[in-house]
């Protein structure tokens, strides 16, 4: 059940940003983002996170595997989401892109999130199989 939330195309006609949301299992949600996560597209991520929280998901994974760029606006959205998590809800970010990882590192936010290379590892983390290791 994949619901594509938003789709932005740039002037060249190629898809610049896609965000999708799906439920893997009961109370586990995955938000997949593709493309540039910047000022224009950060609000979509915010709404997706808000929706998941409202739906009562307890295990949240943000899949940034296919994100090409992330700026301070999107980082702010993630920070806000992390801070607003009710106790007991676990959030993990799946990302293996060098550039995106570097941005997390430069801003020091890699200490704030659980960032793992693959989606599977992220799911393991949110289900409590592993402890924080970032």
């Amino acid at each position: 059940m994949q619901a594509v939330r938003d789709n932005q195309t740039d002037l060249s006609g190629t898809i610049a940003f896609v965000i999708g949301q799906r439920e893997i299992a009961h109370d586990t949600s995955v938000i997949s983002v593709e493309g540039d996560l910047d000022l224009a597209s950060a609000p979509d991520l915010k709404w997706a996170l808000g929706d998941m929280q409202a739906a009562g998901a307890r295990h949240v994974v943000v899949d940034l595997s296919r994100v090409t760029f992330i700026d301070s606006t999107a980082l702010g959205v993630l920070v806000g989401a992390q801070r607003a998590l009710d106790p007991g809800i676990r959030l993990a970010i799946a990302c293996s892109d060098e550039n995106v990882l570097r941005i997390f590192e430069l801003t020091g936010l890699d200490c704030m999130f659980e960032i793992v290379p693959t989606l599977e590892q992220a799911l393991e983390f949110v289900h409590g199989s592993t402890t924080a290791a970032g």
């Binding site: 000022l39 760029f69 301070s72 920070v79 806000g80 801003t107 936010l109 970032g134």
Partner: protein, 673 residues
């Protein structure tokens, strides 16, 4: 500001449809008109040519091409008779030779009757009457007694009349002409003509208006029949005048009159344009005459007059209504476009105001502080993200120099008050003597509460000119760029988080020695995140730009350079440059201070940090063991690394910053007296 929104919105679809409909109507109507003149002209009867003036068969040109029968439609008749010679009772058709001489639409009139005087006269009279007065026949509406009508009555047996009419009708059908004008219309027209013909001033006007064309006019009539090469216009005038006078002749009933007025007729052609124009009933003639003079113009006028004549008033009303609709829509869409343009300009002005306010809140810096030349610059974002960057440079005790450069998340008006809050709060801690890292660590919890949901990245730095060392601490902020040094790339792992991220910050501090001349560049992420062709501007490119202008580099020139190379700047840009002079050649030393608590020690990034510092595996394990023991004992451990000359040295001590606990603020406590 260019008129961005100047481009008008295209007319609303209904308006364009209305316009299209109007044009379509007009085209359809004009397209339905048969080209009468072409058919008529070639069919001149050669018999006309030699006809003497007495017979009134002088080839007379049609008054004008635009008054061809098709346009006149219901009212006209007889025009077609000329070219349709075969059916003419009088004789052959006028041949080609006459046509060029008299122009398009050469008078069918001329081809008419030769033999039967009364019948021919009748018909001629009718035709003559028709030419000038056709347009106004409907207006006349009166029914005065008509000489022609009488003549007709006197003409002869009804059967002959009927036959003529029959032939006429057939001729009309062949040429697509409309029905004959009624007797009443004809009478009215002829009465008018009678009046005009009787008017004396015409010859006087003629004398004044006789143009150089008159001599040709004089000679034209007799030579016309010979197919003279004289301009059609002249022939036409002659014909018309002759026709007019023929009408006069008919009315008077005497052939002699014609000869007497012949000289006048000769001169009249030249004056007819002027005279006709002054006579209302002859206005169509006037319209035609000037048109004849230029081929294209004549064609246009012909078409226009045709259209005007044949389109029923209801259709004109419809066209008018559609035109009005189109105009109304065009006006409204133009107004909407203007409104949109005004709104866009307003919005841009507001955005510029935010940039202006931000700039106004930033301090003026002294050009020099001791041995250091300082410059700072700010460029608001090109768009809604303006606002949020801040900086400050000020002196500290012992001749030291402090720098603050930061970026508050969020934009516009909500970010502006946060920038001043951060700037003054952090400045206060630094002026109080706290080291950069200590200032951050102490202020962050207080600031976080005041920032609400926002967070801010910031770099605090202190330059000691005596030691020639730069001490700085970043909170989620890019490391400053240094040129002129054999600089090691800063270690990016284990960077402290921003203020407001609900994490302890101020956990890392770097000290860099600056032995010789150098330029230190503090900047915000808007600079390196400016968009260029290849993606982002980036740190490497910024270092290159700085190196290119290092001799004369100022913060403003650096930002201008970045602006010039970037396509888009979605975020604010701020930069602060320190130009440090003098010094000597000495190795550059870098020390790193990293505070780690128990949770941090468990993270992978500490290993990355130690690896980047140049420690081997074994050293890393030993260091981590030592740090864990320290953290257990004291709550946190402090790693000290010294890099530069020789192998890295690491020592582990415990946290040396006295924590400033923020007391929870009690809500309105009544103080008991």
């Amino acid at each position: 500001m260019a008129r961005r929104t100047r481009a008008l919105a295209p007319p609303a679809p209904p308006a364009s449809m209305a316009l299209a409909l109007s044009i379509l109507c007009a085209l359809l109507l004009s397209g339905s008109l048969p080209p009468a003149s072409a058919k008529h002209s070639p069919n001149k009867s050669p018999a006309e040519a030699p006809a003497p003036p007495a017979t009134a068969d002088v080839p007379i040109a049609e008054p004008s091409p635009s008054t061809t029968p098709a346009v006149k439609g219901p009212k006209r008749r007889g025009q077609g008779r000329g070219p349709n010679a075969p059916a003419g009772p009088g004789g052959g058709q006028a041949a080609g030779p006459e046509a060029p001489a008299v122009g398009a639409g050469k008078p069918e009139r001329g081809t008419k009757t030769r033999s039967a005087g009364s019948r021919a006269d009748k018909r001629r009279a009718r035709k003559n009457a028709e030419e000038p007065g056709e347009l106004t026949t409907s207006e006349a509406g009166q029914t005065p007694a008509s000489v022609v009508g009488q003549a007709q009555a006197q003409s002869g047996a009804k059967s002959r009349r009927e036959r003529e009419r029959e032939r006429e009708r057939r001729r009309r059908e062949r040429h697509g002409e409309g029905p004959r004008e009624s007797r009443k219309e004809r009478e009215a027209r002829e009465a008018r003509e009678h009046e005009e013909a009787a008017r004396p001033p015409v010859p006087q006007a003629v004398a004044a208006a006789v143009a150089p064309g008159s001599p040709p006019a004089v000679t034209t009539p007799p030579t016309q029949t010979a197919g003279s090469p004289l301009p059609k216009i002249v022939g036409e005038h002659a014909a018309r005048s002759t026709g007019a006078h023929r009408a006069v002749r008919v009315r008077s009933g005497a052939g002699v009159v014609r000869s007497s007025v012949a000289p006048v007729a000769v001169t009249v052609p030249a004056a007819l344009p002027a005279a006709s124009q002054s006579n209302a009933p002859r206005r169509h003639v006037a319209a035609h005459k000037p048109a004849r003079r230029t081929g294209a113009g004549a064609q246009l006028v012909k078409t226009v007059t045709r259209i005007i004549g044949v389109v029923p008033p209801l259709l004109w009303l419809l066209v008018g209504v559609l035109g009005l609709l189109a105009a109304a829509f065009a006006v409204s869409s133009r107004m909407a476009a203007r409104r949109a343009g005004a709104l866009a300009r307003q919005r841009q002005a507001l955005l510029e105001d935010v940039g202006l306010m931000q700039a106004a809140l930033l301090p003026e810096l002294p050009a020099r502080l001791g041995p250091v030349a300082t410059t700072a610059a700010y460029r608001p974002a090109s768009g809604p993200a303006a606002g949020g960057d801040f900086y400050d440079v000020f002196g500290l005790a012992d001749g030291q120099l402090a720098v603050i450069v930061g970026d508050v998340s969020g934009h516009g008006r909500e970010a502006l008050p946060h920038t001043t809050l951060l700037r003054f709060t952090l400045r206060a801690y630094m002026e109080a003597g706290l080291a950069p890292r200590e200032s951050l660590r102490a202020a962050a919890p207080i600031l976080q509460r005041q920032l609400g949901g926002s967070f801010a990245t910031v770099v605090l730095a202190v330059y000691n000119p005596r030691e020639r060392t730069l001490t700085y601490a970043c909170a989620g902020h890019p490391h400053p760029l240094l040129t002129g040094l054999p600089a090691d790339a800063p270690i990016t792992a284990c960077s402290a988080p921003p203020i407001g991220a609900d994490r302890t910050t101020g956990t890392r501090q770097t000290v860099v020695s600056i032995p010789g001349a150098a330029v230190v560049c503090f900047y915000t992420d808007g600079v390196i995140e400016a968009r260029v062709d290849e993606g982002l501007f980036g740190v490497e490119r910024l270092a290159g730009s700085l190196g290119a202008i290092s001799e004369t580099a100022t913060a403003g020139s650096l930002l201008d350079r970045v602006s010039a190379e970037a396509q888009r700047r979605p975020d604010d840009m701020a930069a602060c440059l320190l130009r440090i002079e003098g010094g000597s050649e000495r190795p550059a030393i870098m020390t790193e201070e990293l505070e780690l608590d128990h949770a941090e020690l468990g993270r992978r990034r500490v290993r990355r940090f130690l690896t980047a510092a140049g420690l081997g595996e074994l050293e890393i394990e030993q260091t981590l063991d030592s740090a864990r023991r320290m953290a257990e004992a004291h709550g946190s451990a402090l790693l000290n690394l010294r890099l530069g000359d020789g192998p890295p040295e690491v020592s582990v001590t415990h946290d040396n910053v006295a924590p400033l606990r923020v007391r929870s603020i009690a809500r309105s406590q009544e103080v008991a007296l």
